[in-house]
């Protein structure tokens, strides 16, 4: 059968669109917006989920983090200068969780003391963290130099410390930290390693305390020996004494499927032994679920906006093409008299709508790549444009062009040639 001579058809299609630049441009606009929002939506969605997943990777999806939180009432009740406020996770809690909850692989207890650490005239105000040798592994910390605390250090209550990367940079700008000694008051700690870990920051609406990179890690046993059970805090001239067994307890669970159940058990244990809300439970996996749900809602809302604007764009194309068909009735009659088959006419108009949709879609893709970039620059949201989303958008605009072009093209092809020739 007769070939459709694609190149010529495209050329004459473009020519006829060019003849009505304004009209064609306005018609394209709907598709451009639709495609742009599809891509931008996917980019923002992908960025958000990627960010959430990265956060969760940082904290460990197998982990449940319990943090001690100073309850507000104990603060206001502290009218006496020498009052000891006691709150948070206790050794008893930790032991109970470690020994009785099934599917718990290990627990990482940490206790923190706020202190001034110095070397000669360089000093930092930071948290000294008393912990256990497997802290680094469970918290995804990387040893940069030397090593982390060992079982031996723990047993000997050794006067050693591991520095967070930033702390090491401040205290030892020349990089000679390993083997040197840092001081805290009269206490001396020998540096045995430098580690780095992810910044923690805000997470799922809960603030996670601590910056792993500027902390100083010592064996938990050493801390209890050196500092005793109570710690003193100075705030505005008055001293308050605190007694907190553990500031944080990270529970590592056997498998992802067990996380929710273990969390429930731990929550129950803590509810039974604590009369007030002096702890918080952070479950990265649950936050992942939340993040997914949020993203899902986000996608549905934006997806429907995109779909509606594509629909409107498509109807716009159909409307304009119907008008064009009416306007060009005579031309259709002439072409039919000259031997054009119905499918030639269909192809002619379909080419025009397809071109409209694809050019509109192409512009949409350009804006769709630009928009997430601007969102990222201006709003600070992470966005990721994936190749498949561009292909999807391109496919959608092609589909819109064809679907909404079929009816007008069909109308054009089924005109009676004689009537068409007589038109106006």
């Amino acid at each position: 059968m007769i070939g459709f001579q694609l190149k010529r058809t495209l050329k004459s299609g473009l020519k006829s669109l060019w003849l009505h630049k304004m009209r064609s441009g306005l018609t394209m606009l709907g598709i451009t917006f639709g495609v742009c929002s599809v891509i931008a939506m996917l980019a923002i969605g992908t960025g958000a989920s990627e960010e959430a997943q990265e956060q969760i990777r940082k904290l460990g999806s197998h982990n449940i983090i319990i943090q001690s939180v100073k309850p507000p009432e104990s603060q206001s009740a502290g009218d006496s200068t020498s009052r000891i406020s006691e709150y948070g996770i206790t050794y008893k809690d930790a032991a109970l969780i470690r020994d009785t909850v099934p599917d718990v692989v290990r627990t990482v207890p940490t206790r923190k003391v706020r202190a001034n650490v110095y070397v000669q005239n360089r000093r930092i105000d930071t948290d000294i963290v008393g912990t256990v040798p497997w802290y680094a592994e469970v918290n995804n910390a990387t040893v940069l130099r030397g090593g982390f605390l060992t079982q031996g250090h723990l047993q000997r209550k050794a006067g050693v410390c591991v520095l967070g990367k930033d702390a090491a940079d401040v205290l030892f700008p020349l990089g000679d930290a390993l083997g040197s000694v840092v001081l805290q008051g009269e206490l001396r700690f020998k540096v045995i390693g430098i580690i780095t870990s992810f910044a923690r920051g805000e997470f799922g609406g809960k603030k996670l305390q601590g910056d792993p990179n500027s902390e100083v890690y010592i064996p938990l046993t050493t801390m209890n020996l050196f500092y005793g059970p109570n710690t003193m805090h100075q705030s505005g001239g008055t001293f308050t004494s605190e007694r907190v067994d553990l500031h944080e307890l990270t529970v590592q669970v056997q498998s992802l499927d067990d996380v929710r159940r273990v969390e429930a058990v731990i929550a129950q244990i803590l509810r039974n032994s604590h009369s007030k809300e002096d702890y918080q439970l952070i479950v990265p996996l649950q936050l992942l679920v939340q993040a997914r749900r949020t993203q899902w809602i986000f996608s549905i809302v934006l997806g429907s906006i995109a779909a509606i604007s594509l629909l409107v764009g498509g109807i716009g194309i159909m409307n304009i093409t119907l008008a064009t068909v009416m306007e060009r009735t005579r031309e259709i009659g002439i072409r039919r008299a000259m031997g054009a088959k119905r499918r030639h006419i269909i192809f002619q108009f379909l080419t025009e709508t397809l071109l409209l949709a694809l050019i509109g879609g192409g512009l949409g893709i350009a804006f769709g790549v630009l928009a997430p970039y601007l969102v990222q620059r201006l709003a600070g949201m992470r966005t990721i444009v994936r190749l498949w989303s561009l292909l999807l958008a391109f496919g959608i605009s092609a589909a819109v062009g064809i679907i909404f072009g079929i009816y007008p093209a069909y109308r054009a092809a089924n005109m009676d040639p004689i009537e068409a020739l007589r038109h106006e």
């Binding site: 007769i2 070939g3 001579q5 190149k7 010529r8 020519k15 006829s16 003849l19 005579r330 031309e331 009659g333 002439i334 072409r335 039919r336 008299a337 000259m338 031997g339 054009a340 088959k341 119905r342 030639h344 040639p417 004689i418 020739l421």
Partner: protein, 227 residues
Amino acid sequence: MPLAEMKDIWRTYRMGSTLLHALRGVSFSIEQGQMISIMGPSGSGKSTLLNLLGCLDTPTRGEYILGGRNVAQLDDNELSEIRSTEIGFIFQSYNLITQLNVVENIEIPLYYQGMSERESYERAVELAERVGLSQRLTHVPTELSGGERQRVGVARALASSPLIVLADEPTGNLDTKTGNQILTLLHQLNDEGVTMIVVTHDPRVAAETERTLRLVDGQLQDGTDGT
């Protein structure tokens, strides 16, 4: 065997509940290379007859044999095929496509025949030259005079080397002088072997053709049918 033959052709339009017989039993035939004219008062069915001859329309009843095939039995695709290869139309109102230039207008039938771009361009230029438009190749219809437009119409009708050229009042919109030029062109083409049927209101035009069919009220008048 005649090139085209009509046997008892009827064309009936249904207007609501009434039937309008635009043609009532028309029979005639035309030989290869002939030039005949069709005359008749307005509304007598001349255009209807020409549309049937050009396969733009099919008869309600009767047989139309064109080049050995019974047209009444063909479908839309086959009719289109015949129009693109065997029929050339010339219209009173030219019917050029306004956004296309002279060459592109002449190329239309060739495009639907599937001729290559280059070949059809060359043929269109050749035809434009033949009808005296070699200086107007890239002009669009609005830049042409009526006579020039009709020359484009003639060239376009010839583009596909049709079996028959059908002209519906080709000089109807032209002044006498320009009209005569177009008629001279048609006669020249006929001398070169193109079979031609011309609908006209002008007796002088009819007088110059080999034969004149007179239509009155959808019927050929006595003595004008047959051979």
